[in-house]
Structures are given as structure tokens and as C-alpha cells.
């Protein structure tokens, strides 16, 4: 079984994001970048499946600028076998990413694609679902448990009020939730091995995918600063304020 995992280079989860002074986006120059945390979980799941003998090969894919190669290399250091870097500068929208994955699937013929459920930079949560639709494949999103068998997968997903278990036919697109696993650290021996692993370089043009954005971003601004609260003397005053000032009841 062959597994494809998607890894995206995003601003590190612990960095305080700053809006650019011209309000065209957020500042990424001289900012610490890391692998999207949900994608780390996807890589870990793939590595575990390969270590368990369920999968034979794990391929890490990233779509982005030259620096995205470092994100792929991190996935290789975690245990992925090889990487594919689709070089793309600028903003690439979820539908274009899904189309690129569709073309890569045609070339690599994987049985399963595992993606993070969303990237923490744009929080779109769209690529997995779009890819499944484009391929006509089964989809198991927000997975908190994945069991792969011969030609099928059992996916437990977190939904409002509990857990839902799906039986899916392979091939399938799966997206990871936070509680699926705890990603490992890249060990020094694996980091050293990762240097020698192959990363193929492609462009969206070579794959025949138009990555021009369809959505125009008008302005990016910081959320408004939170105002100080007020203390009320009684429950009656609170109700009065909610009713007449906040107008929420």
C-alpha cells in the first residue's frame, strides 16, 4: 500500500502573527516557519502504518516556495520515504492544491491520501474534501483513529456530541484531527538519513494546473482590541444590559 501525505509550511504555531503594514496579508519575512501541526499528525500516522507493515511506501508532498523543501525534509526525517515538491510562489488556493494532488495521484497511484484537516494559517479546511470530490474517492475527515485493511478503512471521527465510525472503501482521502496521534521528534539518525532521501521537484505548470487565485483579498486587519468589561451590581442589572445595551436577549 502506498500513502501520500500533504505537508504545508506555515508560520510556527507559537509565533505571534503580525499583519503587514499595507494590509495585504501577514508578515512572513524573518518569521519562524514550521510544518502545519495537523500535517505532522498526518506524517506520523503514515509512518506508523508503514512501521506496522500496513503500508509499503510513504511519500510527503508539499506545494509552495523553495523553502517548502525544508518542510518535506522534516517529514523525511520523521520517517517518510521520499518527497515531491511542487514549486509554487504566492498564494495557492485550496481548489488548486486539490487539483495538484489529483495530478500527483494520477502519477503515483496511492491507495490512501492523508492530509491535515486544515492549515493553521488560513484555516480553510477544504483541500481534503475537494480532493475526494475531484477523485470520486471515499473521504474520512477529522479522523481520531484510522484502521486500514485490505481494500477498506475504518475511520473514527470526532463530531459534535461524540464519535462517528465510518467504513470506507479504498482508495480514500483521510484528514487528521488533533487527537489521532502524538507526532514523534525527528531523531538525529533519521535527520542524517533524510539528507540522502530523494525529493522530486515539479511545477504546477508541468502538472497542467492553473494556480491563479480566484479569490481577491481586499484587506487583512488585526482583530479589534478587546474592550475592558464592566462589573454589574446584580443579576437584574445584567439582564437589563444584555437586553437594552448588548441587545442579545
Amino acid at each position: 500500500m502506498k500513502i501520500l501525505v500533504g505537508v504545508k509550511r506555515v508560520i510556527d504555531a507559537y509565533v505571534k502573527v503580525r499583519v503587514k503594514s499595507d494590509h495585504t496579508g501577514v508578515e512572513t519575512q524573518n518569521v519562524k516557519m514550521s510544518m502545519n501541526p495537523f500535517d505532522e499528525i498526518a506524517v506520523e500516522e503514515g509512518v506508523r502504518l508503514r512501521e506496522a507493515g500496513t503500508a509499503d511506501e510513504l511519500i510527503a508532498v508539499s506545494i509552495g516556495p523553495d523553502q517548502a523543501q525544508e518542510t518535506i525534509r522534516t517529514a523525511l526525517a520523521m520517517g517518510a520515504d521520499r518527497g515531491i515538491h511542487v514549486v509554487a510562489d504566492g498564494r495557492v488556493e485550496p481548489l488548486a492544491i486539490a487539483k495538484i494532488f489529483k495530478e500527483l495521484i494520477a502519477r503515483e497511484n496511492p491507495d490512501v491520501v492523508i492530509l491535515g484537516k486544515q492549515a493553521i494559517d488560513d484555516d480553510n479546511n477544504q483541500v481534503g474534501q475537494m480532493l475526494a470530490a475531484l477523485m470520486g474517492w471515499s473521504q474520512g475527515t477529522f479522523a481520531s483513529k484510522i484502521e486500514l485493511g485490505a481494500g477498506q478503512a475504518k475511520v473514527t471521527r470526532e463530531i459534535d456530541g461524540g464519535l462517528e465510525t465510518l467504513d470506507l472503501k479504498l482508495p480514500a482521502v483521510l484528514t487528521t484531527d488533533l487527537r489521532l496521534n502524538e507526532p514523534r521528534y525527528a531523531s538525529l539518525p533519521n535527520i542524517m538519513k533524510a539528507k540522502k532521501k530523494e525529493i522530486a521537484k515539479l511545477t504546477a505548470d508541468e502538472l497542467g494546473v492553473d494556480t491563479a487565485p480566484r479569490v481577491e483579498i481586499l484587506k487583512v486587519t488585526e482583530p479589534p482590541a478587546r474592550q475592558a468589561g464592566v462589573k454589574v451590581e446584580s443579576a437584574a442589572e445584567l439582564v437589563e444590559k444584555l437586553k437594552n445595551e448588548a441587545k442579545v436577549i
Binding site: Q69, E70, A77, A186, S187, L188, M192
Partner: protein, 353 residues
């Protein structure tokens, strides 16, 4: 892996995260109270971070000093309360002497200790040995001979440095090493001291970066006279100076590690860089801990605040494996020995390759 910043970034990220997750406030406090952080050591060993420098056929990873710098810097930044850098340095010494590296933490005897090696046995006293009581083996280098000594062959009296880290007195009474070997190196100084100073320089650079980060964060959070204290120029100037000195120390330490990679079997030239790194780290530490404590005010002096875990280490490490006076003296001796005509070329054309 040497020379690729991409791989160094990945190693820095992995080592930094691992230490961040495992060196918690509780672990630091418990370590000061005498509890050996076995979980931390195990996860370091499991991830191959304890023996980067020993060759693979001797039980190490065969990585470069450039890689070791990344690990030592991260260990200092996160104040890892384990003999990680000592084990790394001892592993390299053992490898160079053709000795298999045993698993577990190793205690590195400072080359400044007065030990004698006669009839296959060691005698003498070594003071301030890091984590001797926790190590399974001790590693000493005497005039080019490296000895691996089981901890149960010596007498260990426990003590601590001002950071609360174990710094024990080890008495060798005709102690029999389990293995000995000869270093295939040329050096003018005790190699164990040079390696120890190299590692301390990297740790100090990491700790300084940590202290500056804490101070900058506090200056942004703490309000006085209606605005964050970071808005006051006096604070800005103090922190900028500290950040510059911390960066200088990092640069000097990294340069020394790279010099060891270039050195091959002749450490004579790299000793200059190690000397400079330890002097720069010591001088910078004074600026950095002054600035960090001044910025924090009274809260920085409380045990509950984490700043002291970093600044007490800076004080302690500054004096270990030779303080600035020792290493500045070495630089002075070399400069005098080389003569006035070589001073300028030695200052300006040292970096090679």
C-alpha cells in the same frame, strides 16, 4: 549533514522541541533537589542526541561539530539538567582514542585536574566533576591517553555548583580504567578542557538567548507609568545591548565548533577559536544577566520565576573548564609567541575554508 542550514534547522527544531517538552519547571526544580531526570535522559538517548560526535562503529552517530553545536546550544537555551554536553564531548574523546562508547551518561574530567596515570591505574583528585555520581563511567585524558573509568572504581563526594547542578569531587586511588587508548591528535592544551570549554561556550550562548527572550517578553508585558516598560528608551537600549552580546557569543561559539570540524587531527589552530568563544561568552554573560535582572526587577529574583534557572547557570558555567582569565591568558601567550608581525594576520585571516 555539515554545512546544510536546512538540516541544521531541522535538528534545531527537533532538539528544541524535545527539550522544551521535557525540561519543565517541575523537572528543573526536582533536579535541583537531587532527582535524576531519567525520562529526559531516556528521550535524549532514544533520539540519538547524546552521542552525536562518536563514530558510528564506536556507538555514536558520526555527526559533525556543527551538528553538536545545535544540540549544545539547545541544551543551554532550555537549561537541560543532565550531562548532555559532557557526554557528547566524552564520546568524541573515546572515539578518537579507539574506545567503544558505553551507553548512558558520561562524566568528563576537566583537563585541568591533576591526575597521574601509572602502571595502568589513575590516582589523584578531580573537583567539580559534572554529574559524576549519576554517570556510569568517567572519561579522563592525561597527556594524550584517554581512560574510561567505571564509576564504581572511584570515590565520589557529591557537591553542587551555584545553579544546583551536581559538581562532585572524585578521588582516584589507583583506579583501574575499563579501557584506555591514545589520542591521534596534536594539541597544545589538555583536550578535555578544550572540549569542555567549547561545550560551555555553546550552552552559555543558548542560555543568553533564553535570558534575553525572557527579558524582552517581560518588558512587553510589564506596565509602568501607563505603558509597557519596553517603550522606555533606557530599557530598549539595555536589551539591545544584551541581545547584541548574546548574538556575538553565539557567533563565536559556532565559529569554534566549525573550527573543530576543520581541525582534523591537529587542534592547535582550533584552540584559538575555543579560547575566543569562552572569553566572549563569559564577558557577554555579565552584560546579559545584568540586563535580564534589571528588566525583571524584583520578580526575577524570586525562586518562583524561571529567570534564575538560566542566570545562575550562566554564573556557574562561566567559571567551568577555564574562566575568561585562563583562556585570555592562553590567547595572550599565543600572541606573544607568534610575534608582533603575525598579530594582524592572525586576527584577520583566521577563518579558513
Amino acid at each position: 549533514m555539515t554545512g546544510t542550514s536546512e538540516m541544521a534547522n531541522i535538528l534545531a527544531e527537533a532538539a528544541g522541541r524535545l527539550l522544551e517538552d521535557h525540561v519543565t519547571r517541575d523537572v528543573l526544580g526536582a533536579a535541583e533537589d537531587g532527582t535524576w531526570p531519567s525520562d529526559l535522559w531516556q528521550v535524549l538517548e532514544d533520539n540519538g542526541l547524546t552521542q552525536p560526535l562518536a563514530p558510528e562503529d564506536r556507538g555514536g552517530m558520526g555527526a559533525s561539530f556543527a551538528d553538536a553545536f545545535v544540540i549544545a546550544f539547545a541544551a543551554g537555551r532550555r537549561r537541560a539538567p543532565v550531562p548532555l554536553v559532557e557526554t557528547m564531548a566524552a564520546g568524541w574523546l573515546l572515539g578518537r582514542a579507539g574506545i567503544d562508547v558505553p551507553p548512558g551518561p558520561l562524566a568528563l574530567i576537566d583537563g585541568g585536574a591533576v591526575l597521574t596515570f601509572k602502571d595502568g591505574a589513575l590516582s589523584g583528585v578531580a573537583e567539580g566533576v559534572p554529574w559524576a555520581a549519576q554517570a556510569g563511567h568517567l572519561v579522563a585524558e592525561i597527556d594524550g591517553t584517554v581512560a574510561l573509568i567505571p564509576a564504581d572504581a572511584v570515590t565520589i563526594t557529591s557537591d553542587r555548583n551555584m545553579a544546583g547542578e551536581p559538581r562532585d569531587t572524585v578521588t582516584f586511588t589507583e583506579a583501574k580504567p575499563s579501557a584506555t587508548g591514545t589520542l591521534d591528535l596534536t594539541a597544545t592544551l589538555p583536550v578535555a578542557r578544550t572540549l569542555g570549554a567549547l561545550m560551555r561556550a555553546a550552552q552559555m550562548a543558548g542560555a543568553m538567548e533564553g535570558a534575553v527572550t525572557l527579558a524582552v517578553q517581560h518588558a512587553g508585558d510589564r506596565e509602568q507609568f501607563g505603558r509597557p516598560i519596553a517603550k522606555f528608551q533606557a530599557i530598549q537600549q539595555m536589551l539591545a545591548r544584551a541581545a547584541a552580546r548574546a548574538a556575538q557569543a553565539r557567533s563565536a561559539a559556532e565559529t569554534a565548533f566549525l573550527a573543530l570540524d576543520r581541525a582534523g587531527a591537529d587542534l592547535t589552530d582550533a584552540e584559538w577559536d575555543v579560547a575566543a568563544a569562552k572569553v566572549v561568552a563569559g564577558e557577554a554573560a555579565e552584560i546579559v544577566y545584568d540586563a535580564a535582572h534589571q528588566t525583571h526587577g524584583a520578580i526575577g529574583f524570586t525562586y518562583e520565576h524561571e529567570l534564575h534557572f538560566t542566570t545562575r547557570r550562566l554564573w556557574a558555567w562561566r567559571g567551568e573548564f577555564g574562566a575568561e582569565t585562563y583562556w585570555a591568558g592562553e590567547i595572550g601567550r599565543r600572541v606573544l609567541g607568534r610575534g608582533a608581525d603575525n598579530l594582524w594576520p592572525d586576527l584577520t585571516a583566521r577563518q579558513k575554508g
